[in-house]
């Protein structure tokens, strides 16, 4: 991967911030779509999808996949609007500096994006280390340290170009993995007919529900919290926006559509692992179903499977790391620290930031291990998404959206949802809500406060003026 990154670094001439952060806005459709899709394929999917199938049957496949797919759909109107108003941004958060007179909205957005991106990196390592460690017996700490060192090195070289190029290799590997090894696993368990018959026998009275796509018994627990959190994650994820700004403008909705729907097919293939597990390991708990089922593979195949899983893990972590480095360089250093920084200085800052945040993500992963569960981490990330997406939409499509209510909506919703999620009955005003209800409260508070406040103290923003003021096609220098 490092060698490949070096080749791309030389070939594409990554010598300014624009190339590092958004691949100069000239990445081709195939490369961008592969990168987008594989960023959404988590190493945790190998564990998570079979677990969902183990809990609720084949309906677990769409319950797991739909939030990720939904995220790609939801981001399309945002992406099309942004690329009209802000044709070649480097980070989407810079839009808020142009949209509002105050710097506060930008600072609020940067804080949310920074913690969601760092958390995203931590979640990837957290789950990936557990998966690889579980399959190999190697300590997750060692897995994570090696992975972060490798990823940090290649992001340092080529930024988004490195991330996207290595993503393509990882994408092809992941596709081959599902096309070859999942059927291989089915035949290791007998054949598809045997898998079905054994699973039905093992499930007994539960077979009706487990082999029904319409089994909605786990909708509130497995689907809704993630649909409301992860389902809008794409809108706030800097990794998504880097790819939106990287691809040519006339391909924006196409890459989001093909990438998003394609992820569903990959997750469906992972679901087959769960069905094989129901057939071959009826006594195993859903959480261990994947690891046990993969033990059906001969050792050489298991090694290949683990290597590809490692690559998929790397693709997501590198995307988050490139995103954080870009945010640190453009939104923090250039926008708030040194407005005189030229493109080459911003590039240097991005490279330093990629090293610093690689260490931060690794240290954060070690810190949360044993303290917080995977689900809690995901939900904390969902809080960030639920607090930002509504105000962001209003700022893009409604000229009356004003700075004060925007900040109030983002900040208050974060505080309210965090209180509801992490609090307990001993705290004043705390109400016990289901996870999906907490996410819904986040959306209602953030969007409602921004809309009501803006109705009372409206702005009168002229969107038509934005492109001329905001376009920065040269890596940062003012026009």
């Amino acid at each position: 991967m490092i060698a490949l990154a070096y080749y791309v670094y030389r070939r594409q001439g990554v010598t300014n911030a624009s190339e590092f952060i958004t691949a100069g806005g000239r990445a081709r459709l195939g490369l961008t779509t592969a990168s987008f899709a594989v960023t959404w394929m988590w190493a945790g999917d190998v564990l998570g999808v079979p677990q969902y199938v183990g809990i609720t049957g084949i309906a677990g496949i769409w319950m797991y996949a739909a939030p990720a797919v939904l995220s790609s759909l939801v981001v399309i109107p945002f992406a099309l609007r942004m690329r009209r108003l802000f044709p070649q941004g480097l980070t989407y958060s810079e839009y808020f500096l142009e949209r509002f007179d105050s710097r506060l909205p930008h600072l609020a957005v940067v804080c949310v994006v920074l913690y969601t991106m760092v958390l995203g990196g931590i979640i990837q390592l957290f789950v990936g280390g557990a998966v690889i460690g579980g399959l190999t017996g190697i300590s997750p700490t060692v897995v994570n340290a090696v992975l972060v060192a490798i990823i940090g090195a290649y992001i340092l070289l080529g930024g988004l170009w490195s991330s996207m190029t290595t993503d393509f290799v990882q994408f092809v590997s992941a596709i081959v993995l599902t096309l070859v090894f999942v059927p291989f696993l089915v035949w290791q368990a007998g054949d598809p007919n045997v898998v079905y018959q054994h699973a039905v026998t093992n499930l007994g009275g539960q077979a009706d529900a487990f082999f029904s796509m319409g089994n909605l018994s786990s909708l509130e627990g497995l689907f809704l919290p993630y649909a409301l959190g992860l389902g809008v994650w794409g809108v706030v994820s800097m990794a998504t926006w880097q790819r939106v700004f990287a691809v040519r403008r006339d391909k924006t909705s196409r890459f989001l559509t093909v990438g998003g729907i394609g992820v569903f097919t990959t997750i469906a293939m992972y679901g087959v692992i769960g069905v094989v597990g129901l057939s071959a390991f009826p006594e195993v708990s859903p959480g261990n179903l994947s690891v046990e089922t993969l033990s059906l593979l001969p050792s050489w195949a298991a090694v290949v499977f683990i290597l590809v899983t490692l690559m998929v893990l790397g693709s997501s972590v590198d995307s988050y790391l490139a995103a954080i480095a870009s945010l640190a360089s453009r939104d923090i250093y250039y926008r708030h620290w040194n407005r005189d920084a030229d493109s080459s200085e911003q590039l240097s800052v991005a490279r330093y930031a990629s090293i610093v945040f690689a260490v931060v993500v690794f240290a954060g992963t070690e810190f949360v291990s044993g303290r917080l569960s995977f689900v809690t981490l995901l939900l904390i990330g969902g809080i960030g998404a639920s607090g930002l997406v509504g105000p962001f939409a209003l700022s893009l499509f409604w000229r009356c959206t004003s700075a004060g209510p925007f900040v109030a909506g983002v900040v208050v919703s974060q505080l309210v949802t965090a209180y509801l999620l992490l609090g307990n009955a001993a705290l004043p005003g705390w109400v016990g809500l289901k996870l999906w209800e907490i996410m819904a409260v986040g959306h209602i508070v953030s969007t409602g406060l921004t809309a009501l406040g803006s109705a009372v103290t409206p702005d009168d923003f002229a969107f038509a003026d934005l492109p001329d003021e905001a376009t920065r096609a040269d890596g940062g220098e003012e026009r």
Partner: protein, 75 residues
């Protein structure tokens, strides 16, 4: 509960869809390469056409109709 035949069909559809997805992306990459070397910034590229956006939305609509149909009818 879906029948054994339906289960086999679903497996086949999933595999073929995954193959199609991988093939399409690989085709795009092989025929287009890494980046548009002639472009200096995406501001030079036109906005996406309405037809292209409508095609994308039609693909999404088809996807969700098929998914909903599966949820409703594959019981």
């Amino acid at each position: 509960m879906i029948s054994e035949t339906t289960f086999l069909v679903l497996l086949g559809v999933a595999w073929v869809s995954e193959l199609g997805f991988g093939a399409l992306i690989s085709y795009w990459f092989i025929t287009q390469g890494f980046g548009d070397d002639a472009a200096t910034a995406a501001t030079t590229a036109p906005l996406e056409s309405r037809r292209s956006v409508r095609l994308s939305l039609a693909a999404w609509a088809t996807f969700f109709v098929v998914l909903l149909a599966a949820i409703v009818f594959l019981n």
